[in-house]
């Protein structure tokens, strides 16, 4: 099993959700995060004083999937989140040892 984690621009969330839904992904976890990559932050000016805002608001999307579908999931997220402009985000895949469905106690692939 794999965990696909994506950090994307906030306004791309709907597109990513739709793309994953079309793939048949049953569930996903979304959180608001802050950070920066190569684009760094931006500058704000108040009464002539410049403030550099380093951490930009982003959305982190996490999807648990099996080994077979992981490439499709990654492609769907990347395809939906891409605008072509700097700051589109990152997607990474990590191995997951086990998963438990809290309600039933099912484990592994059955719990996805």
């Amino acid at each position: 099993m794999k965990l696909v984690t994506a950090v994307i621009k906030p306004y791309q969330l709907d597109a990513v959700k739709e793309a994953l839904h079309a793939l048949g992904v049953a569930g996903l976890t979304v959180s608001e995060v802050q950070g920066y990559g190569r684009q760094k932050g931006h500058t704000e000016v108040y009464r002539g004083a410049e403030y550099t805002v380093e951490f930009l608001p982003k959305i982190r999307v996490e999807v648990l999937t099996d080994e077979i579908d992981v490439e499709k999931v990654v492609d769907a997220v990347v395809g939906a989140a891409r605008t072509g402009k700097i700051g589109d985000g990152k997607v990474w895949v990590t191995a997951v040892e086990d998963v438990v469905r809290v309600r039933t106690g099912e484990r592994g692939l059955d719990a996805l």
């Binding site: 704000e44 000016v45 108040y46 009464r47 002539g48 004083a49 410049e50 403030y51 550099t52 805002v53």
Partner: protein
């Protein structure tokens, strides 16, 4: 023998309205300052204004009004016993001068000026002044500086009556006075931790704009009310207040566009305040076109002046010096440049640009200088004494954690579902701490979402 003045209901009604809207300026100022402040100190910032409304009102009633407007003693101070707070006056017969307004109304109108002048100072020392230190300073500074200076300028003291300096609604008595005290306190208290390296940007710009709107509205009472009656001088003071402020918004925005590339709402709000400050002393002495010119100059110069704190290294948190002190000086001098007897018979010497030479300009500069030096010196000594006795600055820990929690045990915003009043998921689990324990649900009863909130 002339008839004794009788109550003029029109003038009285206008001044009552003016008094109320001048009071509204102080909560407006609190929102303006509060929005410019960081979120962790927003309540303390607002509190300094509200506490001035509480404290100064009482001092004004008991002895402030007497010291400022009581019978002149040696051109320096008013007779403290004249209107002492224990006395009562006949509303029908005890009128203020020839205006036909009851003494009580004039007392209330001027009370609002004393309140906001003290509150203005607080913007310079946000996030780091002990509340007890602030209250003691506010009461002492009002007593030793504002009440006497109001007497010097308006109450028959040497600046107005002897020097002949003109200050219609408070450029010298209010803005230069408060600005000089603010600078002194900044030097006594020192910089905020982290300034100027850390970003200390305004936390709520819409609040800044709302505060500006309330100030602008109230300022009509401040300036046009200062005529005390409802006549053509009131009208020009009102009109000049509007057009100068409008021009100052534009003046500030032009500087921002040229210097920073983008015009900002904080800039437009700040420009409005700069214009309101600058027109205050001059509103009844200059023609409307000169008021527009004043606005453009004050907006642009104040926009440049607020950057001086970074060059000179003093942390005037919310630019009280850059806006009120500098704006007050510009407006005060403007009377010497553009004051004309064709607008007001109170202008004895025509302004420089009306061919009157530099006589009035010199008097205006001297009056501003006297108030600057006096206010700065007394505020510095008061601040120093408070710092060395009870302490004027909060601990480093309190400053880092936020002065709202440390001084008031309150926080401005609680947007977390786990600790805010909205309850939320964690409240159900009892993690919120203060949330009342939910009764165990009956087995057949579906869990109600209301339990969480």
């Amino acid at each position: 023998m002339p008839e004794a003045p009788t109550i003029d209901t029109g003038n009285t009604a206008w001044l009552l309205i003016s008094s109320a809207i001048v009071l509204l300026m102080t909560p407006g100022l609190a929102l303006f300052y509060g929005g410019l402040n960081r979120s962790k100190g927003v309540l303390n910032m607002i509190m300094m204004s509200f506490s001035a409304m509480g404290l100064i009102s009482i001092l004004w009633l008991f002895y402030g009004f007497s010291l400022a407007f009581g019978e002149d003693k040696a051109s320096v101070i008013g007779d403290v016993g004249q209107y002492l707070g224990t006395k009562t006056f006949m509303a029908e017969t005890d009128l203020w001068g020839e205006t036909g307004i009851p003494l009580y109304v004039f007392m209330a109108f001027q009370m609002m000026f004393a309140i906001i002048t003290v509150a203005l100072i607080s913007g310079a020392i946000s996030d780091r002044a002990k509340f007890s230190g602030w209250l003691i300073f506010a009461g002492a500074w009002a007593t030793l500086v504002y009440f006497p200076v109001a007497h010097w300028v308006w109450g028959g003291g040497f600046i107005g009556a002897k020097l002949g300096a003109l200050d219609f609604a408070g450029g010298t008595a209010v803005h230069i006075n408060a600005g000089a005290a603010a600078l002194a306190l900044v030097l006594v208290l020192g910089k905020r931790l982290g300034w100027p390296k850390e970003a200390m940007k305004p936390h709520n710009v819409p609040m800044v704009a709302l505060g500006t709107g309330l100030l602008w509205f109230g300022w009509f009472g401040f300036n046009a009310g200062s005529e005390l009656t409802a006549d053509s001088t009131t009208a020009i003071a009102f009109l000049n207040t509007q057009v100068c402020t409008a021009a100052a918004v534009l003046g500030w925005l032009v500087v921002e566009k040229v210097r920073d590339g983008r015009p900002t709402l904080v800039g437009a709000s700040s420009g409005a305040i700069a214009g309101l400050v600058a027109i205050t002393p001059a509103c009844a002495f200059v023609a409307p076109w000169a008021a527009v010119l004043l606005g453009l100059v004050a907006g642009a110069v104040c926009a440049l002046a607020v950057g001086l704190k970074y060059k000179l290294g003093y942390d005037d948190s919310l630019d009280v010096v850059g806006v009120h002190f500098v704006g007050g000086w510009i407006g005060c001098l403007w009377i010497g440049l553009f004051g004309t007897s064709s607008v007001s018979s109170l202008v004895a010497d025509e302004g420089l640009f009306y061919g009157g030479g530099v006589a009035q300009l010199g008097v205006q500069a001297l009056s501003a200088l006297i108030v600057t030096v006096y206010s700065f010196a007394v505020a510095f000594v008061l601040g120093f004494v408070i710092e060395k006795t009870i302490g004027f600055r909060v601990s480093k820990e309190a400053e880092v954690d936020g002065i709202d929690i440390a001084e008031h045990a309150e926080s401005g915003y609680d947007l977390s579902p786990s600790t805010g009043s909205a309850g939320g998921a964690f409240a159900m689990a009892g993690i919120g701490g203060t949330a009342p324990a939910a009764k165990p649900a009956e087995p057949t009863t579906p869990v109600s979402e209301k339990v969480a909130g």
